[in-house]
C-alpha cells in the first residue's frame, strides 16, 4: 500500500469508529433518558420496543445515518480534491474504492443515504400536509421498505464484480 492509501484507510477507520460510537450514544440516550419499556438492560429494551415507538427509532436512525454520511463527506471532499493536485495520486487512492472491503462499505453507505433520504422526504411531507399519527407511522414503514429494496438491489450491483 502507498502512503496515501494508508492515510485514507486510517482516516476512514477513525471516522467509522466515531460514527459507531455516536450511534451507540444516541441509542443509549433514547433508552435511558426516556425508556419506552422499563425493565431490563438498555440492550434488552431495544428488542421489546413496540410499533408505538417506531418513530423514536426513526429519529435515532435519522441522526445516526446523517452523521455517518457527513463523516464520509468529510473524507470524500479531500480524496476528490486530490484530483486537482495530481490525477495520478487521485487514482492511487481511488483504487481502494474498487476493493472488496470498500465495496461492502459503499453498500452500507448507500443504505444510510437511502434511509436518510426516504425518511427525510417523509418528514418534509409531514411538514407540508396535515398527516395523522397512524399515517405518519405507515409512511415510515414505506420508507424502510423502500430502503431495504433499493439498498439490496444496489448492493447486488456493487458487489457483483468482486463476488464473481
Amino acid at each position: 500500500m502507498s502512503a496515501l492509501q494508508v492515510v485514507f484507510v486510517a482516516a476512514l477507520t477513525a471516522l467509522l469508529l466515531g460514527v459507531v460510537l455516536f450511534s451507540a450514544f444516541t441509542v443509549r440516550a433514547a433508552l435511558v433518558v426516556r425508556p419506552t419499556t422499563a425493565r431490563g438492560s438498555w440492550l434488552v429494551r431495544i428488542g421489546r420496543a413496540s410499533n408505538r415507538d417506531v418513530q423514536r427509532w426513526a429519529f435515532v436512525a435519522h441522526r445516526a445515518t446523517g452523521v455517518a454520511v457527513f463523516a464520509f463527506l468529510l473524507l470524500h471532499v479531500f480524496d476528490v480534491a486530490l484530483f486537482t493536485l495530481s490525477p495520478a495520486r487521485f487514482d492511487d487512492v481511488h483504487e481502494l474504492y474498487g476493493t472488496a472491503p470498500m465495496r461492502v462499505f459503499e453498500c452500507l453507505l448507500f443504505f444510510a443515504i437511502l434511509f436518510h433520504t426516504f425518511n427525510g422526504l417523509r418528514l418534509v411531507l409531514l411538514d407540508v400536509a396535515e398527516i395523522r399519527l397512524s399515517t405518519a407511522r405507515r409512511l415510515l414503514h414505506v420508507a424502510v421498505a423502500l430502503t431495504a429494496v433499493a439498498g439490496t438491489a444496489a448492493s447486488v450491483v456493487i458487489l457483483k464484480p468482486v463476488v464473481a
Binding site: A29, A30, V33, R34, P35, T36, T37, A38, R39, R52, D53, Q55, R56, A58, F59, H62, L123, L126, D127, E130, I131, R132, L133, A136, R137
Partner: protein
C-alpha cells in the same frame, strides 16, 4: 381475584419496593396504589379527580407515562412496574416536581389576549379555525407528553409538547391579539424547531391530542412571522 406482583420505584432506597395485591377485573392502577397504601402508609403518590380530568395522577407504568386512574391493570401480565414521571425532579416516590413543565407552559403566555380592535368577538359555530383550536383544547396538563418526549426533559431546554400545543390553540384563534408575539416566542431556541417527529407525545396523550401535529402547524405559521 388474582395475585399481582407490583414493583414500585421508591425515592428512599430502604423502603419496600415489592408488593403483591389481590385484584379483580376491572382494576385501575390507581386502585392498586390505594390498596398498597393500606399495607405501606409511607407510599407517596398523587391523585384527585379519579376520572381523567385533573391530570394529577400521571405516573409511568411499565415505562409508559399514563394516568393511573384510567389505566386498567392487565391480569396475567408478569407484574407491574410503577415509576415516577421521567424528565422531572422526584419529590418522593411517585410524586414529581412539575415546575419545569409549568414554567414552559407559562412562557408561551397561555392566556387569551383580546385584540385592540376587538372584532370579531364571537367565532361562528362553523368557523374553520375552530377545528384547529378544538383539536388541542382538551389538554389537562398531566405531563405525560413531557415524559414521552426525548427532548423535553430538563437538560434540553425544550418548551415541550403541551406548552406548544397550548400556544397553537391560542394562535389559531382569529381574536388572538398576541399572535405575533406568541409566534415569535415559539420560534426561539427551545421552540418549534426542536420537534423531531418522535411522536412520543401524540402516542402518550391520554386525551387523544396530537401535539406533534400542533407543533408542525405552529411552525408553518411562524414562517414570515417575526420582528
Amino acid at each position: 381475584m388474582t395475585a399481582l406482583a407490583v414493583e414500585i420505584e421508591r425515592s428512599d432506597s430502604e423502603a419496600r419496593r415489592h408488593f403483591t395485591v389481590e385484584v379483580g377485573e376491572p382494576t385501575m392502577v390507581l386502585d392498586v396504589l390505594l390498596a398498597l397504601q393500606r399495607t405501606d402508609a409511607s407510599l407517596a403518590f398523587r391523585y384527585s379527580c379519579r376520572v381523567a380530568m385533573c391530570g394529577t395522577c400521571t405516573i409511568r407504568v411499565d415505562g409508559r407515562p399514563v394516568l393511573a386512574c384510567r389505566t386498567p391493570v392487565l391480569l396475567g401480565a408478569d407484574g407491574l412496574l410503577l415509576e415516577p414521571l421521567a424528565g422531572l425532579p422526584v419529590v418522593r416516590d411517585l410524586i414529581v416536581d412539575t415546575t419545569p413543565f409549568s414554567t414552559a407552559w407559562r412562557s408561551v403566555e397561555p392566556w387569551f389576549t383580546p385584540r385592540a380592535d376587538a372584532e370579531p368577538r364571537v367565532l361562528a359555530a362553523d368557523d374553520p379555525s375552530r377545528e384547529a383550536i378544538e383539536s388541542g383544547l382538551d389538554c389537562i396538563s398531566c405531563g405525560a407528553c413531557w415524559t414521552a418526549c426525548d427532548l423535553a426533559g430538563a437538560e434540553h431546554r425544550f418548551l415541550g409538547p403541551a406548552a406548544l400545543n397550548r400556544a397553537m390553540t391560542l394562535a389559531a384563534d382569529a381574536r388572538d391579539g398576541a399572535r405575533d408575539r406568541r409566534l415569535r416566542l415559539v420560534s426561539q431556541e427551545g421552540g418549534v424547531t426542536r420537534c423531531h417527529y418522535i411522536h412520543g407525545c401524540s402516542g402518550a396523550c391520554p386525551k387523544g391530542i396530537d401535539p406533534a401535529a400542533s407543533i408542525r402547524r405552529l411552525r408553518r405559521w411562524s414562517i414570515g412571522a417575526g420582528r
